[in-house]
Amino acid sequence: MRMLRRVGIVVLVMAASAAGLPAKIYIQWTQSSMPAPRVLGVSNLVIPWSDEAQSLLANAKKQGYRVYWEATLAQSQAVAEASANSGVAGLMLQGSTAEETQLEEAASKLRVKYPKLKIMVLSGAGKQPEMRGWLVFQRDGILQVSSPTSQPWLDQNLSMVRYERAFERGQAPLYSFSWDVSDPLIKENGPNPGSYALAVAEAGAFHADLVLQLHEAQQKGLATGDPQTLEDWARVRRTISFYERGDGEKEAAAVAVLADDYDTCYEEINLMARHNIPFQVFESAEVKGQDLAGFSVVIAFAALGSELTKQIQAFAQQGGTAVLTNLPGNYPWDSDSGGKKTDHAVTYTVGKGRVIELGEQVSDPETFAQDIRRLMVKQQVPVSLWNSLTTLVAEYPGNKPGEASVELVNYDEEPTDVQVQVRGNFVSARYENPERGCCQELKLSHVDGFTDFVVPNVVSGGRVHLSTAGNQKPEARPTRSGE
């Protein structure tokens, strides 16, 4: 770990991302007629491979769209061949989460064979973002379980995006999800504009790419120019446009997660994301010498080889806290002292820090996430929210010193005020959002090296530009819409 820690200067860790540019929204289209790109607000269409795919492609190209074909693993070879001279922009391979390794292998081969064709893997692990209740509806009744008061359950894709960022090489995290149409009204009319806007805001805030499935009713309404559909879609279009811009490339993080398999850590990182614990995922074999420097906590879900063990030991010796989850072994710190035993874990003092060995699988991911929150050194936490249980946050340090931006996503259907605390002494905070544009100056207060402010009335999402240099207009941001 860097010497800077020793003199009390905390280094915010910039999470290395494969692609930190703003979100790119693709619309999945299945209907024969389609509106102009300016109506839809996007220029990238994804057309699932079918008998009608060629005619849809012709139609879409006539309208000026950039078209990607979506194909299953079994279809991939044939669709790639068909793509080669058809003028499609690329190919997205999609399948179940169990097929993902095969999809990656197929994509690699196709990239070699068709170097001019953009080949992407579309993750099937996405889920409809929403705030959920706790009642479980079954065919023959409602299941209800009493418990102590529960925080709102947020179905979110942040943990998956952070995981994908560590493992997907050569492309930004790209995912899709299917809408829950169990409600008869939604089945008939499609999701409401707020649901679409939230999906776009989530992908945008977390710098991921999204293939947004558009309900048949909305496709038809947009294609025919139905006034109500157009009015509803205007909100979604504003949101898409808003997230074509974005600040910073790398998300700030205080916790490093070492993992090799999504299954072994899924629920833990899901709850960590839900509790706004800023973490970065590393593939354990890829961790390099200084990768762990600057983090407050390292959590290992993957077996430690000798090299990684040395890195963990060095990390702890410099004052960090390492947590090993159900990874029995003979580690160098085991012999240093007896360790402090509790019901579930043994804590070893290592240099200025410690290693905590959890001797079992995580039985309660909620408690585990709360534990990790408590273990983080407060001065190393880049951003925190208060009394904002329906909101997730990500902080992106700016490309220039003294600048940062904070992205907020509200999963509640109703607007909410969000109390934010950001590490650093900023003197300007300007809030922009899809509904009201740019920018509202926020009132700041400063406590112990942190800047506090309240973001009012966050609908689906919004962005706060922070600066240590007073009022500055947000500069033109990078955009991927013109790719």
Binding site: E100, Y266, T367, R373
Partner: protein, 359 residues
């Protein structure tokens, strides 16, 4: 990437058993809506012949809950409660009927529990909440200072609508009763709108069953079971269940805190139990759930015996159960038959007598 989110979610919702099959009456439709308020999700599921009518009634009920949040919130600086907390040390404050009723009810349970239920422990709760967030645990001096502020007997109610604090630093927090009160007001509104079959849920901790679902005698609710062995269930019909449990112990061995504070020592309660209580109103069940967890089974049973149409169950992490009832029945998994005057419960494989037979 591989995952099984459904299984994971199901695991979090354990215990799960299928409800007995019984098709709903064909002329009613189920409407379900959620609303975030008071730091949790309120849910209402209602059956009615007209979904549009049910939807309007639910929205009206949610509007009432939102209105009460503006009255009872401890977080919102402009809530009526926050204003009371700022001013009632200096002079008498006239308050709305809702706030007066909530505080009046709270004091009733404070007296019933001899001070174990106490809405004046807010300064202590705040100290320990900071510890839960990862900040340092409060010092003894901090705790002593906060404890000096507390004490329900320092609240003076001057009927019909005035309140004064006889402590210069007292603050009250109605989080242990406010959600139940909001559920009761929502139920009133549903009934006023002619909804006779509904389940009203405040973040799983207070649940009221209005009437019964179509084709069934009552709403079946599974109760919190930290042992995952005994699966207690209750049938709700025009009554409420609330559940309390201390924040789970840390897995990683860092210092434990907890959101339920024992007023006797000003520290987080240490309890191995999850407690569920059935009562006629959600206000009562909400307040009693905290109270009974704090006092434990022995004293708790004596309290419940003083309340008509109530029942409570304490379930420990190792599957020990203790029950008491003055009416409603709480059943455990595998408890297929009830012998007159006696409920059987299983603790570590041993058959023990429940509290009910002692009555």
């Amino acid at each position: 990437m591989r995952c099984n989110r459904l299984l994971v979610r199901a695991a979090l919702l354990l215990p799960i058993t299928l409800l007995p099959a019984s098709p709903p009456q064909s002329n009613t439709k189920l409407v379900h809506k959620t609303k975030y308020s008071m730091g949790t999700v309120y849910e209402i599921a209602a059956y009615d012949q007209s979904p549009a009518h049910a939807e309007r009634a639910i929205e009206e009920a949610f509007a009432e809950i939102a209105r009460l949040d503006e009255v009872l919130s401890n977080y919102k600086p402009e809530s009526e409660l926050s204003q009371l907390n700022r001013n009632a040390h200096f002079h008498r404050v006239r308050v709305s009927p809702d706030l007066y009723r909530v505080i009046e009810e709270s004091l009733k349970y404070s007296r019933l529990s001899e001070g174990k239920f106490d809405i004046t422990v807010a300064p202590l709760v705040d100290l320990w909440k900071a510890a839960l967030r990862g900040e340092r645990g409060p010092s003894e001096a901090d705790q002593q200072e906060a404890r000096a502020c507390a004490g329900y007997e320092k609240i003076e109610l001057i009927p019909p609508d005035t309140i004064e604090f006889h402590s210069p630093c007292m603050r009250i927090d109605v989080g242990s009763i406010g959600k139940g009160y909001a559920v009761d007001r929502a139920v009133e509104i549903l009934r006023r709108n002619g909804i006779n079959s509904a389940l009203v849920d405040a973040g799983q901790s207070s649940i009221y069953g209005v009437g019964a679902p179509p084709g069934k005698p009552a709403w079946e609710v599974h109760l919190r079971d930290p042992s995952k062995r005994v699966d207690p269930t209750v049938m709700l019909r025009d009554n409420s269940v609330s559940t309390s449990e201390q924040t789970p112990a840390s897995l990683l061995g860092n210092e434990n805190a907890g959101h339920i504070i024992d007023p006797d020592n000003g520290k987080p309660l240490e309890s191995k139990y999850a407690l569920s209580i059935i009562a006629k109103t959600a206000t009562a069940s909400d307040a009693l759930s905290t109270t009974l967890l704090l006092v434990g089974p022995e004293k708790g049973k004596e309290i419940v015996k003083q309340i008509a149409e109530a029942a409570a169950i304490w379930v420990s992490r190792d599957g020990e159960t203790q029950r008491v009832t003055t009416g409603p029945e709480i059943r455990l998994a595998g408890e297929l038959q009830k012998e007159q005057g006696e409920l059987k419960t299983v603790r570590d494989g041993e058959s023990v007598r429940s509290s009910r037979e002692k009555q």
